[in-house]
């Protein structure tokens, strides 16, 4: 029983990270119909900003976090104008390739600027975690779960209760119609990129203390996040979150009870199963309705 609880905790912790990254993927997909292959690198980039501010410039943790977030705002804006904007009138494929290229550029820029050594970013809490019975609750995992929940709630309020949120929704549903109704579509898309970059950044800063801050840290997470969005229903926000958490739990249990080396495979077996049986995912609308 203790082992099941421990595994569930680890699964939800990792799953929350997939969910955070997946959330950013979904937002950009909804706004631009493009899968952003650099989403994992957003996480990596922010984690390195945090390392730079906290470990090298010696800023306090919270201030470094703000620096990292501010950096991601600028980063999202540059990404919007550098990677997406010039190709906005083309089909999704050139943009997709453009994000793939951006991913390589980001990774190698960080490599050139920071060097190849991974960094040890301390966690947000000053203690390691709690021992509850024989279950150990890692403090950073708790922070991640709490932060994911809070962000999801905030996001819901933002999209449903504010004018900008509603304009963003309108843009993602039908750009032309939104434009006709006076929604500044260009600005809305820029905001989407900024918001996605910040979300990815939060994920990176949160996961850094667990898996260390390294140039390749975003890659594996982004791949799982992508799987999570398909399981949840591509383009669906609550689907991305539930998909992420489900994926985290499935791979942790699969590793514990079936095979550790095939841990990554479980995520993709589930992905294949969904693609075959329910390609629209848990919450996704049928593709036919979109046409």
């Amino acid at each position: 029983m203790d082992i099941l609880l421990q595994l569930t905790f680890a699964g939800i912790g990792m799953g929350s990270i997939y969910a955070l990254v997946a959330l950013g993927l979904v937002l950009i997909y909804r706004a631009t119909s493009v899968v952003n292959f650099a989403q994992g690198d957003f996480a990596m980039f922010a984690a390195f900003l945090m390392v730079l501010a906290h470990l090298h410039l010696g800023l306090p943790y919270w201030a470094s976090f703000l620096v990292a977030l501010a950096g991601m705002v600028a980063f999202g804006l540059i990404f919007n104008y550098g990677v997406y904007y010039p190709l906005r009138n083309r089909s999704y494929l050139p943009v997709l390739i453009s994000t793939l290229g951006a991913s390589i550029v980001i990774q190698n820029s960080v490599l050139a600027a920071y060097g190849p050594h991974p960094a040890n970013l301390p966690g947000a809490l000053s203690f390691q975690g709690f021992q509850v019975g024989s279950v150990f609750l890692d403090g950073q995992y708790l922070v991640i779960i709490a932060a994911t929940a809070a962000l999801v709630l905030l996001q819901h309020l933002f999209f449903e209760k504010t004018i900008v949120g509603k304009q963003l929704q309108a843009t993602s549903q039908d750009k032309e119609m939104a434009s006709l109704l006076g929604v500044p579509v260009k600005i809305m898309i820029a905001i989407t990129f900024i918001y996605s970059a910040v979300l990815g950044g939060v994920a990176g800063v949160l996961v850094g203390p667990i898996i260390y801050v390294s140039i390749g840290m975003g890659g594996a997470i982004a791949l799982k996040a992508f799987a999570a969005t398909i399981i949840g229903g591509f383009g669906d926000i609550k689907g991305a979150i539930i998909g992420g958490v489900v994926l985290g739990i499935i791979e942790t249990f699969g590793a514990a009870f079936i095979s550790v080396p095939y841990k990554d495979a479980f995520a993709f077996i589930v992905l294949f199963a969904f693609l075959m049986v329910r390609p629209q995912g848990i919450f996704g609308e049928k593709i036919a309705e979109k046409a």
């Binding site: 082992i3 421990q6 990792m14 190849p116 050594h117 991974p118 997470i221 590793a255 550790v260 841990k263």
Partner: protein
């Protein structure tokens, strides 16, 4: 008249330049494949540093055969295709007389057919024992192979630490898979069957299932074979979090500089078999001091083996009196008791240069030399 003069001057200049080029001895070029980008980029830098330091020392002492040693470095991107590509790029230049190949066995396997075709000595650091059993006359290993390390591991764990219940954790690549086989054999020789054998793929983000399995198995000693320093760090942290207090003896990654920095106290008290330790010999000590002076970081096995590879290659070229591949090969095979940072080099017919291992202990973050175990050549 003036025109004629100019022509004369120009042709004289040209002649001087040609003669000059012929006289300034061309450097002896050694091609080097290293991970400059990709997952192992941090170890790539150390490997390049070690090799460069050796080349500079040889050159400062007058070079070899009156020529300087020059390294030609190609990036393998930490991948097998990258290594193959880098090797083909390096071999396309006939001026490269020998090559330093990757430290990862899987990459050395990947270039093995090309090494055979190319027919020039390749000095490598991968520790999979099979690499020197491929009947490939051009392979020379500059680290002790895993058969030696696992034998030393089993002996130290059973005899010195008195542990009988072994859990083995390993990566599922060539390095990890071959080590598990060898350690299991070495343990069997001592009448022990491991209680748990668990593989994982490199770059895992979470080790909860493995750590729980180790805890449940009741093992009193853990042997680990990891490649990535980040994996080693996460594994160590989770071992401590879940209260696993078994003795722990690991592959060299457990004492690599970056791993120590990442994992900190989580690795205190662990043992490792390290092919390199600064206190294992006077040569190792000198290397360590010079390396720190030059690069301001602690030397590790990544930098030590490439340092030795260049140094020993220089000795072999000098003994051979030429850079001709066959002569160089004979000279390398004839190397006997040449001291290096990793230990004394004596090549056997298979091309294995080292035959001993150092047992070290992580004493509150400092790596302390425990003993050197020499096995039969």
């Amino acid at each position: 008249m003036r025109y004629a003069f100019t022509t004369t001057v120009l042709s004289a200049l040209g002649a001087i330049m040609i003669v000059g080029a012929a006289h300034a001895a061309d450097p002896i070029r050694i091609g080097m494949i290293a991970p400059i980008t990709g997952g192992a980029a941090e170890s790539g830098r150390n490997q390049i540093n070690g090799a460069q330091m050796a080349a500079d020392e040889v050159n400062a002492a007058g070079g070899v055969l009156g020529r300087k040693i020059e390294l030609v470095i190609e990036d393998d991107q930490t991948t097998n295709p990258g290594a193959v590509l880098a090797f083909s790029k390096l071999t396309s230049d006939a001026n490269n007389v020998a090559f330093i190949a990757p430290v990862r066995s899987t990459q050395v396997h990947a270039i093995a057919p090309d090494v055979l075709r190319n027919g020039k000595p390749v000095l490598f650091g991968g520790t999979d024992p099979r690499l020197t059993q491929l009947n490939n006359p051009w392979f020379f290993r500059f680290r002790p192979n895993d058969a030696i390390s696992t034998k030393a591991m089993a002996e130290f764990g059973i005899k010195d630490l008195g542990k009988k219940k072994w859990a083995i954790i390993h990566t599922t690549d060539a390095f990890g898979a071959s080590n598990v086989k060898l350690l299991t054999e070495a343990l069997k020789e001592q009448g022990i069957t491991p209680t748990l054998v668990q593989g994982f793929t490199s770059n895992s983000q979470d080790f909860t299932p493995i750590v729980l399995a180790v805890k449940q198995s009741g093992a009193d000693i853990v042997a680990s074979f990891t490649v990535q320093d980040t994996d080693q760090g996460v594994l160590a942290k989770q071992f401590r979090q879940f209260g696993v207090d078994a003795a722990w003896i690991g592959s060299p990654t457990i004492v690599a500089t970056t791993t120590l920095k990442l994992a900190g106290p989580a690795l205190y008290g662990t043992y490792a078999l390290a092919d390199y330790n600064p206190d294992s010999s006077p040569e190792a000590t000198t290397f360590s001091e010079n390396y720190r002076k030059r690069f301001n970081v602690q030397a590790d096995f990544f930098s030590a083996w490439t340092y030795d590879a260049v140094k020993v290659a220089a000795v072999a070229i000098k003994n051979a009196g030429s850079t001709e591949p066959k002569a160089l090969r004979e000279a390398l095979l004839a190397i006997k008791d040449v001291p290096g940072a990793e230990g004394p080099y004596s090549f056997n017919a298979n091309g294995d240069g080292l035959h001993g291992y150092n047992v070290v202990r992580n004493q509150d973050g400092a790596i302390v030399f425990v003993k050197r175990v020499e096995t039969v050549r």
